[in-house]
């Protein structure tokens, strides 16, 4: 052991470490090609984004980093200018972002619908109800277990809107439990505990085989789950990659992409997970039902 040779050796190692550390930083350079998309867990958990984004990246050279969080957090990221583009499903909140100038465009991309699922033995007897509100009333009357996202996601907000319709405050009721997690997690909990749950159809179909939960209520217009793409206003947030955001929004609404969305999942589930709605307005969609 010769310390002085070791000393040099240490210097070499130190230099190597530094280079390594910098290599670790290599792909961190801020580039114009980087687009940050804030979206909901449902678009990730259905696999749709992992399917579409590589196509977009291939086509345009942009690189999309998507952060899948609850709609509440996605919208908050938009409001702080931390994301360039949002793909979300909470129309009432979305409009606020347009009104306060956070978003400079908001376009309808697609929809699927929410459904109420529950254990096959249907303890509250809601199966076949035409209206979601009616089913919720029955669940409350029966005191049957209801599992809520409780995370201010689009799904959670939709659920709260339905409770509001029947003038009931579910929070705090013994039969009402909040998971504070994503859709798939919440479905897991509902399946484990044998509770009812409001879910988007896509995530449910994707998970159906392992869950053991049945569809109880579907088709009520209030249950429409509408996704909009919103670009964040560069006039308000100078660091936003406006071009990249616009490119991604345009891509989602392009004819070929819309076709891909409409076909996504058909081969696996026999039905599409999303309905492509490029060019339509929300009103047209509601009246369609």
């Amino acid at each position: 052991m010769q310390p002085w040779k070791r000393m040099k050796w240490l210097q070499v190692v130190g230099a190597a470490l530094l280079v390594l550390a910098m290599a670790g930083c290599g792909n961190a350079k801020p580039e114009n090609s980087r687009v940050i998309l804030a979206t909901t867990t449902s678009t990730r958990d259905t696999g749709l984004l992992d399917y579409l984004i590589p196509i977009f990246e291939e086509k345009t050279g942009y690189s999309v980093d998507y952060v899948a969080v609850g709609t509440g957090q996605a919208l908050a990221m938009g409001q702080r200018g931390e994301a360039d583009v949002l793909l979300v499903h909470s129309p009432a909140d979305e409009k606020k972002l347009v009104e306060d100038g956070t978003a400079d465009s908001r376009r309808l991309v697609m929809h699927n619908d929410f459904i109420i699922v529950g254990p096959p033995d249907d303890p509250a007897g809601i199966k076949g109800s035409k209206k979601a509100a009616e089913a919720f009333q029955k669940i409350a009357d029966a005191g049957a277990l209801f599992i809520s996202r409780g995370d201010e996601s689009g799904t959670h907000k939709k659920e709260l809107a339905i409770w509001k319709q029947i003038g009931l405050e579910p929070a705090g009721q013994t039969w009402y439990q909040e998971t504070g997690s994503g859709m798939a997690d919440t479905l897991n909990v509902a399946a484990e505990k044998g509770g009812y749950c409001l879910t988007d159809r896509g995530t449910y179909l994707y998970r159906k085989d392992t869950l053991g939960l049945d569809i109880m209520v579907e088709g009520d217009p209030i249950l429409l789950n509408i996704y909009h793409v919103m670009t964040i206003n560069p006039k308000k947030f100078d660091k936003v990659n406006a071009e990249g955001a616009k490119a991604f929004a345009d891509f989602l609404l392009a004819e070929e992409t819309q076709k891909l969305i409409a076909e996504y999942g058909v081969d696996k589930y026999g039905q599409p997970l999303f309905f492509a709605d490029g060019g339509k307005t929300e009103e047209e969609l509601m009246n369609q039902q």
């Binding site: 310390p3 000393m7 550390a21 961190a28 940050i36 958990d45 980093d65 998507y66 952060v67 994503g182």
Partner: protein
């Protein structure tokens, strides 16, 4: 079981996530070594005002919950945060920073304890042999190298198994910031239990490797 098939066949996705995990956590550990070792040395070998306060900070830092680190690193790295101009949020570098923040107090604390465990006269003896300040430090590090190695391995074990901070500053972005822990959480959420189990097996294997290394090291320790 499907999980084992995924592992044995070397599922490319799993491989990629594992490599990224090793790169991120490995780099974070190296960074924490470069920062924590001098801090530990200075605290162990010198006297200065505020030293006690720093030691208490280090001790607090050793028990810092990763999500707290994640939140604070996020606040700094957000586009409109103080370091936003670097554009580091949701990048591996952000994760390296967060993990280094988690591991540095650990490395510093254990290195400090390792040096402090040495015979206090040893430092005098080395100086008496004609060592300059740097030579002295190098020799003391060398004497305490088993403790320091333990610190490094411990730090690596901590950051590789940490999920809160990685999720928050990395965002679990496919091919970019998706590491073993965040991927496991996500796969469980998606109901892909096979994938989740496969990922968790790798994590367990790594954790076991780390523990094994530590144990081996402890057995090689100077008989006292």
């Amino acid at each position: 079981m499907q999980a084992f098939r995924l592992l044995i066949q070397g599922d490319p996705e799993i491989l990629r996530v594992t490599l990224l995990t090793l790169r991120v956590s490995g780099t974070a550990t190296l960074v924490s070594l470069l920062l924590g070792l001098p801090i530990g040395l200075i605290l162990a070998l010198t006297e200065f005002p505020g030293r006690r306060f720093l030691i208490s900070l280090i001790n607090t830092g050793m028990g810092l919950p990763p999500v707290v680190v994640g939140l604070w690193v996020s606040i700094f790295l957000w586009r409109y945060g103080p370091l936003g101009f670097l554009g580091l949020m949701y990048t591996p570098t952000a994760m390296i920073i967060a993990q280094a923040v988690i591991a540095t107090p650990m490395v510093a604390g254990i290195a400090m304890a390792g040096i402090a465990q040495l015979d206090p006269k040893l430092s005098l003896q080395i100086q008496a042999l004609g060592a300059s300040r740097w030579q002295l430090w190098w020799l003391l590090i060398r004497e305490a190298r088993l403790s320091i190695l333990a610190a490094v391995i411990g730090g690596f074990g901590a950051v590789i198994s940490e999920v809160g901070a990685s999720q928050m500053v990395g965002g679990n972005i496919l091919h970019k910031t998706r590491v073993l822990t965040t991927a496991t959480v996500m796969e469980v959420a998606k109901g892909h239990f096979d994938m989740a189990i496969a990922l968790s097996l790798i994590l367990m294997l790594l954790a076991y490797g780390v523990t094994l290394l530590l144990t081996l090291l402890q057995h090689r320790r100077r008989p006292s």
